[in-house]
């Protein structure tokens, strides 16, 4: 019996010992950044999804005609320069010469034309096709000139061309129906060489990149790690160099490590509690105002979202179009009770609050809202729903009284504000033709100052009529090993930019 037992023990030990030899050492001289990605992109086709993870990955593989610089200003990228005609209907882009795709094809105006046509093609099923609808004609007089003909002036188009879904693909592969969803081929700073679904994505330096001397590292490995705790531990132990989803709770642990620094910046998120303005009693302005008075916004922002800057209207705090309306509805429970009494709303009214269960911060915020509203005598019932249900029932069909969500920022304010004020177009069902007209006019107007005057008025109307409780823009915390420099995130788009990243 002892013989048998001990042989089993020996086998077990041998198994364990054999594992000790595996940890892979990085090759000397190859600069590799180990990055923690929180989920698996569904597809790598920039024209086939709206998923943030896809664009975050593809930012390194593709380029766009223009792109936002670190301040959010739109600057040349694949297009060296561009000009818009007096009437705003003709946009002429001059492409950079000598740009190569990863498959060796040189970039020409034909590629740009084929790409835009691919997005507009119904068979592609791009969720962003509508943003390209103003383009009615594309001309390619020579290899480096692209002329876009518009049916009406469109200020937001430049933002669209700078976004991830404006990625330029090579014509030859579009024509041969290349599987872009699996094997992206672009002009970007890195080539995608390996993708193990739910495992890792390997990006290797493109030596022919058009920005001289960039990228600075040879390799970026995106490890797909869904558990935040594992990311944090990987950062401390050095198996991970960058993690972009650090929670405030993890900060003390990370700052106590000598090798890790934390970079805090403001996100372009607009955190809100949305109210369905078509349902009683929320169709009564006094009730919406009362709810706004009842919420201690700073507190919700701190407890649920790890801090941030309060906003008083539907625009992210760091946006150039932002205006401060935060003093319109300060925290004042007594006033809230008074308004509710005037509107005749009491304990017998039940409001249903739908919370997306896949976003724990929104769920936490919802619970705090519920508690604060209970204190002024409002009866709120929480319902947890999964993301598909939220998008389908709550967002598209407006089957809710209250819901908590964060809207991602957009490069152009039209992306943030379009269709607000048109009752059936937005989930808050806010009906205000005046505001809708201002927003529509701003989309046709050129020039920052001219547009800002119009958006200011629209934002003021939203701030007063409160279809939402406007909470604020939250902070983002990125944990980085101290030997890593210059990791950037694209403003508003929240994509990762490794071009300047280096290892000391």
């Amino acid at each position: 019996m002892n013989g048998k037992l001990s042989s089993i023990i020996i086998i077990c030990l041998a198994m364990i010992v054999s594992c000790l030899f595996s940890p892979a050492a990085t090759h000397a001289g190859v600069k590799t950044v180990n990055f923690a990605l929180s989920g698996n992109p569904d597809t790598l086709d920039p024209h086939g999804t709206s998923g943030t993870l896809t664009f975050q990955t593809l930012k390194s593989v593709y380029d766009t005609l223009v792109e936002p610089d670190p301040t959010g200003k739109i600057v040349p990228a694949l297009a060296e320069k561009w000009a818009v005609s007096e009437d705003g209907l003709t946009w002429t882009f001059t492409l950079r010469s000598g740009v190569l795709f990863h498959n060796g094809d040189p970039l020409t105006s034909k590629d740009v034309k084929a790409t835009i046509e691919r997005i507009q093609n119904k068979e592609t099923g791009s969720p962003n096709a509508n943003e390209f609808a103003p383009i009615v004609g594309i001309e390619t007089p020579d290899d480096l000139t692209v002329i876009l003909r518009l049916k009406a002036p469109s200020a937001p188009l430049l933002g669209t061309l700078a976004s991830g879904w404006g990625a330029i693909l090579p014509k030859s592969l579009i024509d041969s129906k290349h599987d872009f969803a699996q094997k992206p081929v672009g002009t970007g700073p890195f080539k995608l060489t390996e993708w193990i679904r739910d495992g890792k994505i390997v990006l290797e330096k493109n030596p022919d990149y058009w920005m001289k001397g960039l990228p600075r590292v040879d390799k970026v490995i995106m490890h797909i790690i869904p558990e935040r705790a594992v990311q944090v531990q990987g950062l401390i132990s050095g198996q991970i160099d960058i993690s972009y989803i650090i929670d405030r709770e993890d900060v003390p642990l990370l700052t106590s490590s000598p090798d890790v620094k934390i970079k805090k910046s403001l996100t372009s998120l607009i955190m809100v509690m949305a109210m369905n303005c078509s349902r009683p009693p929320l169709n009564d302005l006094r009730v919406r105002q009362a709810i706004n008075y009842a919420i201690d916004k700073k507190k919700v922002l701190d407890v649920a979202y790890g801090g941030g800057e309060p906003i008083g209207t539907f625009m992210d705090y760091s946006n150039a179009y932002y205006r401060d309306f935060t003093n319109l509805y300060p925290y004042d429970p007594a006033k809230a009770k008074k308004l509710l009494a005037e509107a005749g709303v009491g304990k017998d009214t039940v409001l249903e609050m739908f919370l997306p269960q896949n976003y724990p911060p929104h769920v936490k915020a919802g619970e705090i809202y519920q508690d604060m509203l209970a204190r002024v005598g409002l009866n709120v019932k929480i319902k947890l729903v999964d993301w598909s249900t939220w998008i389908g029932d709550v967002y598209r069909k407006a089957r809710f009284d209250l819901t908590v969500i964060g809207h991602t920022g957009k490069l152009d304010p039209n992306g943030t504000l379009s269709n607000f004020g048109i009752k059936e177009k937005k989930y808050v069902r806010w009906d205000h033709p005046g505001a809708a007209a201002l927003i529509a006019e701003a989309a046709r107007t050129t020039g920052f100052e001219n547009r800002k005057t119009l958006y200011d008025q629209a934002l003021a109307l939203m701030a007063k009529e409160v279809p939402f409780v406007f909470l604020g823009s939250s902070y983002r915390r990125v944990g980085i090993r101290k030997n890593i420099s210059d990791f950037r995130m694209t403003p508003s788009l929240d994509t990762f930019d490794f071009r300047w990243t280096d290892i000391q």
Binding site: M1, K4, L5, I8, I11, M15, I16, S18, C19, L20, S22, P23, N40, D42, T43, D45, G48, T49, S50, K122, E123, T124, G125, S126, P127, N128, A129, N130, A181, Q182, I196, R197, D198, G199, K200, H223, I224, I225, P226, E227, A229, V230, Q233, G234, I236, S237, Q239, N358, V385, D386, W387, S388, T389, I391, G392, D393, Y395, R396, H407, G415
Partner: protein, 281 residues
């Protein structure tokens, strides 16, 4: 059935900013604009041709997606079951032979604890201890044997606890049978009685349960894959449900059902090898 629950895959693909016309185009591309009955009929027809369709979110063949992930989950489950058998059978036998001894109490304590500890929690503890404090095993990633050790240990312990109890009970039952008395009366050594006679018969129910456990372990792998960041079947199906990727969910259900029946069938075959009295006719 799953289509009755709210949620539209086209909307998940489209996100919050897409316009109505974009959504219609996506629905047409995915084929979810057709009536439900037509979609199901088409799917059934395709299944008979071993075509499970394409995933709605990634556009890739369902069969390919599943087969790509299956080896990892299978090796996790098999390693887990091997480990649990290696722990459970020796401990169970000792517990039964030396009832109420120190070893018996130790075994019982282990099985009590193993059943009570959730495997994901054990997984996190193992990660903390063996990947962070002592860096014996990698914290994340996949591809080598060392990546599989901790997850299969965390899966195996809970299963070992169940198997240990079963082995002990089954062994005790066999030891009280009359043929054991005969064996002893023949003058066989205690060793021969325990291992040659009792154990062989006691193992039969243990193998049945171990086989079924293997099936369940494929399910248990879902949570473990999440903890250990492993690209296995569990995560594939979990996200398929989140994103209402119907062809992938349906393909997954059929596949898991197939694996389950295959395991059960193999266990039945194994029976006849171990016990000649059971013949497959």
């Amino acid at each position: 059935m799953i289509r009755v629950i709210p949620g539209d895959p086209a909307l998940t693909v489209a996100g919050v900013d897409a316009s109505e016309s974009d959504i219609a185009a996506i629905r047409a591309k995915l084929g979810t604009d057709k009536p439900l009955a037509a979609q199901y009929g088409q799917w059934l027809l395709d299944v008979f041709r071993f075509d499970f369709g394409h995933s709605l979110t990634s556009g890739r063949p369902v069969t390919q997606l599943i087969l790509e992930r299956f080896p990892l989950t299978l090796s996790l489950a098999v390693l887990g079951i091997i480990l649990s058998v290696l722990i459970a059978i020796p401990l169970g036998v000792i517990s039964a032979v030396q009832r109420w001894s120190f070893w018996d109490y130790l075994g019982m304590l282990f099985s009590q604890a193993g059943m009570a500890i959730p495997s994901f929690w054990l997984g996190i503890l193992l990660l903390l201890l063996l990947s962070i404090k002592y860096r014996v095993f990698p914290l994340f990633g996949s591809g080598s044997f060392s990546h599989l050790v901790l997850p299969s240990v965390s899966l195996g312990i809970a299963r070992a606890a169940v198997l240990l109890r079963l082995t002990r009970a089954s062994m005790i039952e066999e030891l009280s049978r009359e043929y054991i008395i005969t064996a002893r009366a023949k003058g066989l050594t205690e060793r021969m009685v325990n291992y040659k006679h009792a154990l062989k018969n006691a193992l039969l129910p243990v193998i049945t349960i171990a086989g079924i456990q293997l099936g369940y372990m494929l399910g248990g792998a879902i949570i473990i894959e999440q903890v250990f960041s492993l690209p296995g079947l569990g995560r594939l199906f979990l996200f398929a449900v989140y994103q209402r990727d119907f062809p992938l969910i349906q393909g997954g259900v059929v596949f898991v059902a197939f694996v389950f029946s295959f395991i059960n069938f193999s266990v039945d075959l194994l029976y006849s090898l171990l016990n000649p009295r059971i013949r497959i006719t």
